[in-house]
């Protein structure tokens, strides 16, 4: 608890910056006032439990203050009280749209602490599942964007694809959502018999369906363009300044992908492009997601073509007791740079685990770029950031 004097010293209790469009004097002259509106936490378009305190001038937002914590489940505190392998199911529940990347980041961090070699087949399977996870997260993101623009249908097409990938995941990991598949030192089990062929045939089907269902129906739509072009526009400087990663950064034209620039695991051996777009608005983020799904398909095909043989789980002994020190695992999740910082004190539980979830950082964008937009534009901007409640709240 802060003492009173430190509280005043450390905190300048001002309101966050407002993007007030209407000059206060003009407003007084006409006797107009702004409306305070409380959007959420129970709101269908808030990607879970987010509360936005909005100040509206007619339909224009002049202040947007995100309030988080409605889904805070103390992931970091729980992780401190569990043994190293037992933290993996906790990480699963951080970003529940893209769980496999969450496991991957944590396992990378602990492996860095332990300094172990991962069997190449395990590495390849991890990358394979991670890319499937990305497809499984990006396609519903496109659907959610359309849902928030008022078109209900694409989300069901998107979830059809997600369900099919979930069936593949079920065959491999035994679970449809909370996989607990990537383990420290490898993966839980090898791919079952016949699954690589099923994955291949699924991908070919997806390639056929992808163009008509998610590109042709959406991209040229006049209303879609008018709702998204120029909405949530940001410059690359602003995006870098705000610490954005993932699609929100790449759609402004800054080429940064953890898979490319901080390669980990099997990604060193893969050939893929980092998709960027110049516009930096919601439409650009949609195009980036479309492009990334295509790249993911390409990567999975490469992995399936040369899947190395061998073990899938390194033998690390029964109790993991890493040496004292820091381990940082950094992966590109579907939403951006996801980093896990594990601090070990030599015991069999982590001393401190810090999850750097991309959603938390990207969501700062809301209070920066929403003021000045119309109220209905908040929804496409949420679609641009595409946060997940579990991930921003941890």
């Amino acid at each position: 608890m802060l003492s009173e004097e430190r509280r005043t010293e450390g905190t300048a209790l001002t309101r966050p910056a407002t993007g007030r469009l209407v000059d206060p004097d003009v407003r007084d002259e006409f006797g107009l006032e702004t409306i305070d509106m409380n959007m959420g936490p129970q709101h269908p378009a808030m990607h879970g439990l987010l509360r936005l305190i909005l100040e509206l001038d007619g339909e224009t937002v002049v202040r947007c203050d995100p309030v988080m914590g409605y889904l805070h489940r103390s992931k970091e505190k729980i992780s401190e009280n569990r043994m190293y392998p037992a933290v993996i199911p906790i990480t699963d529940r951080i970003d529940y749209m893209n769980n496999i990347a969450m496991e991957y980041g944590y396992c990378l961090a602990v492996e860095k602490l332990l300094d172990v070699e991962i069997p190449p087949r395990a590495d390849a399977i991890r990358a394979l599942m991670n890319e499937f996870g990305r497809i499984m997260s990006h396609i519903p993101s496109i659907g959610f964007l359309m849902l928030e623009l008022g078109a209900f249908t694409p989300i069901l097409y998107a979830f059809r694809e997600r369900e099919r990938i979930q069936s593949l995941f079920e065959a491999v990991t035994g679970a449809r959502m909370m996989f607990h598949y990537i383990r420290i030192g490898g993966v839980k089990a090898d791919l079952p018999e016949g699954i690589p062929e099923k994955m291949w045939s699924y991908l070919e089907g997806l390639e056929q369906r992808f163009e008509p269902d998610f590109v042709d129906l959406i991209e040229g739509n006049e209303i879609f363009i008018s709702r998204t072009r120029g909405v949530g526009k940001m410059t690359p400087e602003k995006a870098v300044e705000m610490g954005l990663t993932g699609v929100p950064l790449r759609c402004t034209g800054v080429e940064f992908d953890v898979r490319k620039h901080y390669p980990y695991g099997w990604y060193k051996n893969l050939d893929f492009d980092v998709i960027t777009d110049e516009a930096g608005d919601v439409e650009a983020s949609y195009r980036c997601r479309i492009g990334e799904v295509r790249q993911s398909i390409r990567m999975i095909k490469q992995i399936l073509e040369n899947l190395p043989e061998g073990e899938v789980l390194a033998d690390l002994g029964r109790r993991l007791r890493p040496n004292e020190g820091d381990g940082i695992g950094r992966v590109e999740s579907a939403r951006g740079e996801y980093a896990v910082h594990v601090v070990s004190d030599g015991s069999d539980t982590p001393y401190r685990v810090h999850y750097r979830t991309p959603c938390t950082v990207n969501m700062q964008l809301l209070q920066e770029i929403v003021p000045g937009h119309y109220l209905p534009d908040i929804m496409p901007i949420m679609g641009l950031i595409d946060p997940v409640s579990g991930a921003w709240d941890k």
Partner: protein, 337 residues
């Protein structure tokens, strides 16, 4: 026997029976359209839709009604209760009332007013009042925003809606809907949607906006203001709002059919069914209502400023230009008209 039937045709009795029939039609239309909407949505979205109650789910509307009747009618604590409760009625009555002047077939029109088009225009503008009452009475920010959007939208789109009717009025020289339909006899090439194509399209779009359907469903704004003016309603009051929306959607299609698609007139003369020509009216109306639903499940929603742009900068100029074109054509080819 003959005299007994004559009693039914005598004025007050006939009117009462007709009122009953119209109310029956409108309320059932709401139920059937709900079902149709859900089934259309389901087939567009690769699913089955309601298929548990009755054969192929056909009794689902009845189950919905039972559920809505047994549901508690909640009102917000600080709401203006009378306004709150009167709003659904203020929305429903105009939608049901205009059905009285719709000619279903040559002999089936409840009130053959000689100012039926004016009646339609006048009564439909009242339904904006219901929206404002609902939003104001609920005393919630979301409702208020929805109501303001609704009022702005409905009043703005009234202008292109009325202007697009005028072409037909000029061609017919009458404000009676029966006369309008009679003037379109003899094959589909005599229907007014061909000479008045821009007006037909404008009327269709303005009609979509007037009944608050996607892509103009901003007053409801599912994703940002979560239902807008009807966010606080539940149970039967909500059902009444829904019924009025579906009734006005049917109404807009019916008026559209009457004015531009030849009402009860068959597409070819040899298909004339005589008294049963209401079949053609019903078929055309149903097709138009299907297009409303098709659009609803295919398109995203516009934004308020874009909606206003479309109304004032595109639709109103189109109708005005075409009014001049129609007037000029009538002046030049006087012997044809």
């Amino acid at each position: 026997m003959q005299t007994a039937l004559n009693v039914l045709e005598a004025e007050p009795v006939r009117l009462l029976i007709s009122f009953g029939a119209i109310l029956f039609l409108v309320l059932n239309l709401a139920g059937i359209l709900t079902m149709a909407e859900r089934k259309t949505a389901a087939y567009i979205q690769l699913r089955f839709g309601p298929n548990r109650v009755g054969p192929r789910g056909l009794l689902q509307p009845a189950a919905d009604v039972v559920k809505l009747f047994t549901k508690e009618n909640v009102s917000p604590g600080r709401s203006d209760l009378w306004v709150f409760l009167a709003a659904p009625i203020a929305m429903f009555i105009p939608a049901a009332l205009v059905w009285l002047v719709i000619p279903f077939s040559p002999n089936a029109v409840v009130a053959d007013l000689n100012v039926a088009i004016l009646f339609f225009v006048g009564i439909t503008s009242i339904s904006a009042l219901g929206v404002v009452m609902a939003g104001y009475g609920s005393r919630s920010t979301f409702s208020l925003l929805g109501a303001l959007r609704g009022a702005a939208q409905m009043i703005s789109y009234e202008v292109p809606l009325i202007l697009s009717l005028l072409g037909v009025v000029m061609l017919t020289g009458s404000l009676s809907l029966v006369d309008v339909v009679r003037a379109q006899g003899g094959g589909f090439w005599h229907w007014y949607f061909l000479p008045q194509l821009p007006m037909f399209i404008t009327f269709y779009i303005a009609g979509l906006a007037e009944v608050k359907r996607v892509p103009f469903d901003l007053p409801e704004g599912e994703s940002e203001i979560v239902g807008g003016y009807m966010v606080e309603y539940s149970g039967m009051t909500w059902a009444l709002i829904q019924a009025s929306e579906f009734a006005s959607m049917g109404l807009m299609s019916a008026i559209n059919v009457t004015l531009f698609l030849g009402g009860w007139q068959p597409p070819f003369e040899f298909l004339d069914l005589g008294t049963f020509n209401w079949f053609w009216f019903g078929l055309k109306t149903a097709l138009l209502m299907f297009t409303f639903q098709w659009i609803r499940w295919s398109l995203p929603r516009l934004r308020m400023d874009q909606l206003m742009d479309l109304g004032w900068k595109v639709l109103v100029p189109i109708t005005l230009i075409w009014l001049f074109v129609t007037a000029g054509a009538m002046l030049i080819f006087q012997e044809v008209f």
